[in-house]
C-alpha cells in the first residue's frame, strides 16, 4: 500500500505520469480515498494555474526596446 508520504513526494516532483500503469492506478485509488493527499494534489495544480496569472515584471515595451537595439 502506497503511503501518503510517497504520494506527496510524487505529486510535488511531477513523477506520477512516469509511473507504471499499475502504480498510477494505485495512486488514483489513494487520491480517491485520502482527503489530505487529494487536497495536496488539487492545490498543486491550482498553484501552477495561479502563478501563470501573476503579472510579470517585464517592461511593457521590452520587445520594442530589444528590437531597436538589435537593429543598430
Amino acid at each position: 500500500m502506497i503511503s501518503c508520504r510517497n504520494i506527496a513526494r510524487l505529486v510535488l516532483s511531477d513523477q506520477i505520469d512516469s509511473q507504471t500503469w499499475l502504480k498510477r492506478m494505485e495512486i488514483r485509488m489513494h487520491l480517491l480515498m485520502c482527503r489530505l493527499c487529494s487536497r495536496l494534489f488539487r492545490q498543486n495544480k491550482d498553484l501552477g494555474e495561479a502563478v501563470k496569472r501573476i503579472p510579470d515584471s517585464a517592461p511593457e515595451d521590452l520587445e520594442e526596446r530589444l528590437i531597436a537595439r538589435l537593429s543598430r
Binding site: C4, D14, L40, I54, E63
Partner: protein, 196 residues
C-alpha cells in the same frame, strides 16, 4: 504543455539575412518568457533585460549554423541558462542534503501518514495577495529550483525540454521541482494568508 512550433528553414534564412521583420518576430515570440526565466534566476529587471539581449545577439551570431530541426525555444532558453550560470559563476549542483527534505519528512509519521497535513490554501490561491506572497516565498528558493519551477509552471514546458535546457537528468529535475514546491508550500502555509 505549451508547444512551440518548430521553425522552418525559410524563416531561418530570413533571420540569417537579418531581415528586420524576421528578427522582430523572433524577439516578440521569445523575449518575455526569457525575461521571466532570467528574473527567476534572481537577476534584477535591468540585468534580465541585458541577459535577454545578450541571448538574441548570440542567436544572430550563431544562426548561420543553427539546426532548424531543434526547437528554437529550447535553444534560446539553453543559451540564457548558460549565460545566467556564467554570471553567477555557478553550476546546478543540487546538494544531497537540503533542509527542506527534513521539514517535509517531519510532516509524516513512521508509517508515512500525515502528522501535519497540507493546509487548505484555496482562499490564498484565489486572493489578490497571492502574487506578493509567492514573490516573498520564492526568495527562499535556490535559483535553480526557481528556474525549474518557472519553466514548468509559467512557461508550461515538458520534462525532456526542461532537462535539455538545464542540462540535468529527469531525476534531478524531479528533485528541483519537489524542493521548489515543498518550500513554497511551507512558506505559503506559514504566511497564514490561506486561513479562513
Amino acid at each position: 504543455m505549451n508547444s512551440a512550433p518548430e521553425i522552418d528553414d525559410a524563416f531561418l534564412d530570413r533571420v540569417r539575412l537579418r531581415e528586420p521583420e524576421a528578427v522582430a518576430q523572433t524577439v516578440r515570440e521569445h523575449a518575455r518568457p526569457l525575461f521571466r526565466a532570467a528574473r527567476a534566476m534572481g537577476f534584477s529587471p535591468t540585468e534580465a533585460e541585458d541577459l535577454v539581449q545578450d541571448v538574441f545577439v548570440t542567436f544572430l551570431e550563431k544562426v548561420a549554423g543553427f539546426e532548424g530541426r531543434s526547437l528554437l525555444r529550447t535553444w534560446l532558453f539553453g543559451v540564457l541558462h548558460r549565460k545566467c550560470m556564467e554570471r553567477r559563476r555557478a553550476a546546478i549542483v543540487e546538494s544531497h542534503l537540503d533542509p527542506i527534505d527534513e521539514v517535509f519528512e517531519a510532516r509524516f509519521d513512521t508509517k508515512g501518514s500525515w502528522i501535519r497535513p497540507p493546509q487548505d490554501l484555496e482562499r490564498l490561491l484565489l486572493s489578490k495577495e497571492l502574487g506578493q506572497a509567492i514573490d516573498g516565498c520564492s526568495a527562499g528558493l535556490a535559483a535553480s529550483q526557481r528556474e525549474a519551477f518557472v519553466l514548468r509552471e509559467v512557461e508550461g514546458l515538458d520534462t525532456p525540454e526542461i532537462c535539455k535546457i538545464l542540462g540535468v537528468s529527469v531525476t534531478n529535475l524531479g528533485v528541483l521541482l519537489f524542493r521548489a514546491r515543498a518550500r513554497l508550500r511551507e512558506c505559503l502555509e506559514a504566511s497564514g494568508l490561506g486561513r479562513k
